[in-house]
């Protein structure tokens, strides 16, 4: 399992790809694999303000419900609505096509506490 080096990661297994003042947010390959077949996703409205660590939606596998926590603070500017019709995309392409939301970062939003891919890989290994 490999984790893109340009992403930052949380202990809750979300990733954030920060480009300028925007971030794309998703869940990691490890997260989708642990959840199993994802059958439902609930995402926020465009325009909603998110605090760092705030719940912004859920993903559900056949067996379990998992909250999604925002790795960044800011305003939701796009939602991947294609996932609502086909949540299994999250199992297939969690780091690319199946991103969840895009966020316009708050000026003061810091990501210095997030892990880089090497640290996250180690973290995932430590869970086994």
């Amino acid at each position: 399992m490999s984790f893109p080096t340009e992403f930052k990661y949380t202990k809750d297994h979300e990733w954030a790809h920060i480009e300028g003042k925007n971030a794309t947010v998703g869940i990691t390959d490890h997260a989708q694999s642990s959840l199993g077949d994802i059958v439902f996703v609930e995402l926020p409205q465009v325009g909603r303000s998110l605090k760092k660590g705030e719940t912004f939606g859920v993903v559900e596998s056949i067996k379990a419900v998992s909250d999604l926590y925002s790795p960044v603070a800011g305003k939701v500017i796009a939602v991947n609505t294609a996932l609502v019709d086909d949540p299994s995309k999250i199992n297939k392409t969690p780091h690319t096509e199946a991103w969840l939301i895009k966020v316009e970062l708050e000026a003061a939003s810091s990501v210095s506490d997030l892990m880089d891919s090497a640290a996250y890989s180690k973290y995932v290994e430590s869970l086994h």
């Binding site: 199993g36 077949d37 059958v39 439902f40 609930e42 859920v58 596998s61 056949i62 067996k63 419900v65």
Partner: protein
């Protein structure tokens, strides 16, 4: 330290994802819940259910004792026939649900839930202690450590299992069994029972012979689409049939008449534990009913979610089991709710994360096998 079945190494080799299930280290899935579920529906699935408890009840007084212990009628059980029944406590709540296999006039095999094995065995012994004063020819033993139990379920199950045994499987009817041999010399109980809604068998062999039987079934089944199935698929398969699961639909405080298994309660057979509170409940009217529901709005009903009237004003009960049905592709639920709102077609709502989402009571089982 978690308990392991004799098949533990097989699960590791097959890449099973192991979890703690009631103190047992068992695979929740191998290839994935959806894949395993659909394989069982389309062809066949193989399940290690060796964690289930087995109890022998034997002696001239065994039949009358069991008829006092459980709600269904053991006296009507023929040799080589199986019976599904709850056993109740004195308040009419369910101690456990179980299968009783009649091996001869005086020998019975009880199969009980893994997580309830110790509780059940203590309960059976405590009932027997009194019973034996009048009816002494009664021997009860916990044989759980001596059986491996393998379930092969699905339309291809007989074709695969038949390659291991000379016992003609097509002569075994639903809820009947035969004692025979598998792989030449391994004594086996071959029963047409199961927990999936598919045509299939449950096979009981000596504990240490489980692995070779499992491996032989995997080998013979490979070309026919057989897949190993974990606890996840076992749960979704039983869910689609509305088969109750202890701890979800059934509990120490739920009466069988409420739990959708009223057909297993034979009030006219004579006295049994829980008969009096159960017949009072029947006379007064049963306040709760177990129903199936489908969501009209978006969301998946999950165990513990509140069920409310359509307008959301009054709580009716709770979801006992719920998931996205793999076979139907719909979010479905089972709920224990007030009988007043339990008619087929009734509109209700389910509290999903604080939002009352519309739902409708529908007939069960959700899934009906097409063959």
């Amino acid at each position: 330290m978690l308990k392991r079945t004799a098949l533990f190494e097989e699960h590791v080799k097959l890449g099973g994802r192991l979890v703690d299930f009631g103190g047992w280290e068992l695979p929740v899935q191998y290839s994935g819940v959806m894949d395993e579920h659909l394989a069982c529906r389309a062809s066949a699935g193989l399940f290690d259910v060796s964690h289930m408890g087995e109890v022998h009840v034997e002696g001239q007084d065994a039949e009358s004792f069991l008829n006092y212990l459980v709600t269904n009628n053991v006296a009507k059980l023929n040799i080589e026939q199986a019976l599904y029944t709850p056993m109740c406590n004195r308040e009419g709540g369910i101690v456990d649900d179980l299968l009783i296999y009649r091996r001869s006039k005086d020998r019975f095999l009880l199969v009980i839930n893994a997580s309830n094995t110790e509780k059940d065995y203590k309960w059976i012994q405590s009932v027997a202690a009194d019973y034996k004063k009048q009816h002494p020819d009664l021997r009860i033993s916990n044989e759980s450590a001596n059986y491996s139990q393998i379930a092969i379920q699905g339309r291809k199950s007989a074709e695969i299992l038949q390659k291991l045994t000379e016992t003609p499987l097509n002569k075994i009817n639903y809820y009947w069994f035969k004692e025979g041999k598998v792989l030449g010399n391994i004594p086996a109980v071959l029963a047409q029972t199961g927990y999936t809604g598919e045509y299939g068998f449950e096979v009981y062999v000596p504990w240490d012979r489980g692995p070779e039987v499992w491996r032989a079934l995997m080998k013979e089944g490979a070309a026919l689409g057989l897949k190993p199935c974990g606890l996840g698929a076992r749960d979704t398969l039983r869910f689609e049939m509305r088969f109750p699961l202890y701890g979800h639909e059934l509990s120490d405080t739920t009466n069988p008449l409420e739990a959708g298994i009223g057909w297993t309660v034979k009030l006219s057979k004579g006295d049994f534990i829980g008969r009096s509170p159960t017949s009072i409940l029947k006379e007064k009217g049963i306040p709760r009913d177990l129903v199936g529901l489908k969501m009209i709005g978006r969301g998946i009903p999950r165990p513990g979610y509140g069920v409310f009237t359509e307008d959301g004003a009054k709580k009716l009960g709770e979801i006992t089991s719920g998931t996205q049905s793999p076979s139907l592709g719909l979010p479905l639920g089972i709920a224990l709710i007030a009988s007043s709102n339990a008619a087929i077609g009734a509109k209700i709502s389910v509290d999903i994360r604080g939002v009352k989402v519309p739902a409708e009571i529908i007939p069960t089982p959700f899934y009906k096998r097409p063959y």
